[in-house]
């Protein structure tokens, strides 16, 4: 400690550089997005025009919505593999019930269905203390099975497109309601989780469950809430997609799951918990969509897209772990001694 004080000035400098690095790290995803966007604008034919930008925004909405709850689960240091089947559930329920209940009530039911699955996940994780990976892997199979069982494996649809058209038609020339809804929900929960006393609890639970409990937080409740939120937003996202195409297939969410996980990680949320935020997850989803869309404009096939997104994910994971690896090496170095070394070198 003495050392720290003696060289406190040197150490402050050290602190500052660290801060800058952290800041850079924090804005990483924005930079990746910028780089890709610019590259695409330069090289990809009919990429940069209003219509396509709208496509990109629409393409983002489903996974961005799903990522909301999933990110919170990750912040709590847990994993939710059931998001895929949950979003399918939402979609199937909303379309399945629309003829009898009408749009809004069936939307409510759909979302509640998602929340229920989430609640079950949360309960099993928090109370029965089963690893979330296992719980959600189980519920994933169960829910998917139920969907097939009830729908007999067939898609559902309604031939009324008024709502669908409204959801898809851009307002203010750029933002379709579906996108607006998604983004606003993202923003609401982003603020709720990051900037409110209540929301900060998720970070504390994820950072150290014991501490959170000792600080008087109801950790189990937080966990359950996180999973409920995940189930809810997943179902909502699915439902919105279904409403915007007036139909739903029982295999809707299969490939979303992995994309959302990847995006959340790329967005800077760590599996360890206690870090990350919803907005950056959305930006990461956006980044992936831009990448897909741009590559498609370049005439690249699907294979190139997963290849590229895989590379981005790999790059991020590598970068992060390498950074930590380097940090470990120099952690606890004494500025005083380092200063001497520098002098010696001169």
């Amino acid at each position: 400690m003495l050392g720290r004080l003696e060289s406190s000035e040197g150490m402050m400098r050290d602190m500052d550089t660290k801060k800058i690095l952290n800041k850079l790290d924090y804005y990483r995803i924005y930079m990746i997005l910028a780089v890709i966007f610019i590259l695409m604008c330069l090289f990809a034919p009919n990429f940069f025009n209003t219509f396509n930008i709208i496509n990109i925004l629409k393409g983002m909405s489903l996974n961005a919505m799903v990522a909301v709850g999933f990110t919170v689960v990750m912040i709590c240091g847990q994993l939710d593999l059931s998001i895929g089947s949950n979003l399918t559930l939402g979609a199937m329920v909303v379309i399945g019930l629309q003829p009898t209940l009408g749009w809004f009530p069936s939307l409510i039911v759909a979302v509640l269905a998602g929340s229920l699955v989430g609640a079950i996940n949360g309960f099993l994780v928090a109370k029965a203390k089963i690893h979330s990976f296992i719980v959600t892997l189980g519920t994933m199979t169960i829910v998917q099975g139920l969907i097939f069982l009830i729908s007999k494996g067939s898609a559902l649809s309604v031939n009324d497109f008024t709502l669908a058209d409204w959801l898809e038609a851009p307002l203010f020339g750029l933002f379709p309601p579906r996108v607006i809804i998604t983004v606003s929900i993202v923003l609401i929960f982003f603020v709720l989780v990051k900037y409110t006393k209540f929301g900060k609890g998720f970070y504390l639970v994820g950072g150290n469950k014991e501490t959170a409990w000792l600080a008087g937080l109801n950790t189990d409740l937080y966990l359950i809430l996180a999973f409920i939120l995940s189930g809810t937003t997943a179902a909502l996202g699915g439902a919105l997609l279904a409403m915007s195409i007036s139909s739903a297939v029982p295999t809707l969410g299969v490939s979303s799951q992995m994309v959302v996980i990847a995006a959340t990680i790329i967005g800077g949320t760590s599996m360890a918990g206690g870090t990350g935020d919803i907005f950056r997850s959305m930006i990461a989803v956006l980044m992936l969509v831009v990448l897909f869309n741009g590559l498609m404009c370049l005439g690249a096939g699907y294979e190139v897209q997963i290849f590229a997104s895989g590379l981005v994910l790999a790059a991020v994971v590598l970068g992060e772990s390498y950074a930590l690896y380097e940090q470990d090496k120099v952690k606890g170095q004494r500025p005083a001694l380092m200063a001497e070394l520098k002098k010696g070198a001169l």
Partner: protein
């Protein structure tokens, strides 16, 4: 007269499945006193404290805080009643910032909902100042600060709740002498403010510095409460272990030192320790004193190759060696007992036997096949010698008491029959019984012609065991004390050769 106690527990008990951890205990603490709570690990004192902190909802008996009968059935309830607890194990969320930790559960808000960042900064800094960490940035992560700082942050966090009963469980276990002094300064201030402080420590000398009264527990029962001047270290220890014992570790003169086992020349790891040189000989215990964070553990890690060194030479029995990793160190007969048992010392989820045999995998692997049987006798032998309880190698280490865990940890390295044994805080936070066993073992190892390097912040321990003490400071050796003039005072003086800016800084703030 019946004075109102800050805390008054009457006939409280806590039943764990299969055992009565706290058995009908009465316990009173006055306002403005430091009340030490003593007992070996497993005596039930931590359970008692957890009870006060509201960790259990199913205790029996009556608890009064400031005369008012209360139900401390949840941490929040306890906090509301003004009970603050500093836990022995750090209970901080690593990925979060200092501020978020210090203000956990009571973040300042604008309009009840949104977090007030400015207020956060101010309140945090204010809390940190109280423990002399005013210079830390409230928004830097816990990961980024040292363990000592973290320990103090922990205390700052508790003080932040302005408790009127403060429970401290081994608060000094990872603090250097300096920081302990500073902490005592804080405690004194709090006393004056009329707080009731319950202080748990295995470090008896501390108690005589700080405590007013002391209560001793054994096997979940209360043995008695005394004013500090009524008791001596000896009597306390006897009450704790429940049998008469010889006085605190006496210096036994080791026989004449043997040949040189280990010589270090200008060992340097840039930024951690610079041109360190020393040698240890057979039958010798070389103490390395100094403030924690002086680079002692880093030095040890450098020697055993856990971290790469940048320059310098290592000679074992006069032969120069390059040690790139722990396994090479073991091959050269160098063992290193790490300071933090739970992270780097023992795998808590596997059995005693497996832990002890961990470094011996190679030895017990005959033409590709590993047999734990061939190691069984060794394990039992070690466990017997170190009096590990329970004496059953199939017990999961996580289920042992701290003291026994530490014994197993030492046993793990003793079993490797090292010629050079580096011990880093071998008795941190263990009870008196375990401590005695460990000290005896260290002496025996030395007397059997091995070289022991003892890194310790426990001055009596250093004095009692070492033949020589090197003083380390700021990653350098700044002095050596030979047996004749070894005493806690001399070590302290040497360690603080340049006066303590630290405490000045504190008292200034």
């Amino acid at each position: 007269m019946n004075e109102v106690f800050s805390l008054d527990m009457k006939g409280v008990s806590k039943q764990f499945p299969g055992t009565l951890a706290v058995d009908n205990v009465d316990f009173q603490v006055k306002a403005g006193e430091v009340h030490a709570l003593l007992g070996e690990n497993g005596a039930g004192k931590s359970t008692l404290m957890k009870m006060i902190a509201g960790a259990f909802s199913d205790y029996t008996g009556q608890i009064c805080v400031l005369g008012e009968n209360v139900e401390l059935c949840s941490p929040s309830a306890a906090k509301a009643k003004g009970v603050g607890m500093v836990y022995q194990e750090l209970s901080l969320a690593m990925p979060l910032t200092i501020a978020e930790n210090v203000l956990a559960g009571r973040l300042p808000t604008k309009g009840k909902i949104f977090i007030d960042k400015k207020a956060m900064r101010e309140q945090t800094i204010e809390c940190l100042k109280r423990v002399g960490l005013g210079h830390l940035d409230p928004f830097s992560c816990i990961k980024e600060i040292s363990q000592q700082e973290a320990q103090l942050v922990e205390i700052a966090k508790t003080l932040g709740n302005n408790p009127n009963i403060l429970v401290m469980d081994e608060p000094t276990s990872s603090l250097s002498r300096e920081e302990v002094k500073l902490l005592f300064g804080i405690i004194e201030k709090l006393k004056k403010q009329g707080l009731a402080i319950i202080y748990i420590s295995h470090h008896l000398p501390e108690l005589f510095e700080i405590a007013d009264r002391v209560t001793i527990m054994r096997d979940g029962k209360k043995i008695g409460t005394y004013n500090i001047d009524e008791v001596t270290t000896k009597s306390l220890v006897e009450m704790m272990v429940g049998r008469p014992i010889d006085d605190k570790p006496i210096k036994v003169k080791n026989q004449v030192l043997g040949e040189e086992k280990l010589r270090i020349e200008n060992l340097t790891r840039n930024g951690f320790f610079h041109d360190v040189s020393f040698n240890v000989r057979a039958n010798e215990v070389l103490g390395i004193g100094g403030l924690s964070g002086a680079g002692r553990s880093e030095l040890a890690r450098g020697i055993v190759g856990a971290d790469a060194i940048d320059s310098g030479k290592i000679y074992i029995k006069g032969k120069e060696v390059r040690i790139k990793n722990m396994s090479q160190a073991l091959e050269h007969g160098v063992a290193y007992l790490t300071e933090n048992r739970k992270e780097e010392g023992l795998a808590l989820r596997i059995t005693i036997g497996e832990n002890i045999l961990a470094p011996l995998l190679k030895k017990h692997t005959k033409n590709g096949i590993y047999s734990a049987k061939s190691g069984a006798s060794e394990v039992l032998e070690v466990m017997k010698e170190l009096k590990v309880y329970p004496p059953d190698p199939t017990v999961t280490v996580g289920n042992l008491s701290g003291g026994n865990q530490q014994k197993v940890l030492l046993g793990k390295w003793v079993a490797t029959k090292p010629q050079i044994l580096i011990l880093d805080e071998p008795t941190r936070g263990v009870d008196v019984g375990a401590k005695m066993v460990i000290h005896d073992t260290i002496r025996r190892l030395a007397s059997e012609g091995n070289a022991v390097i003892l890194i310790s912040s426990d001055l009596p321990e250093l004095v009692a065991l070492s033949d020589r003490v090197k003083i380390m400071k700021e990653g350098r050796f700044i002095g050596e004390l030979i047996k004749e003039d070894l005493s806690e005072e001399t070590i302290l003086l040497a360690a603080n050769g340049e006066g303590d800016k630290l405490s000045e800084d504190i008292y200034a703030s």
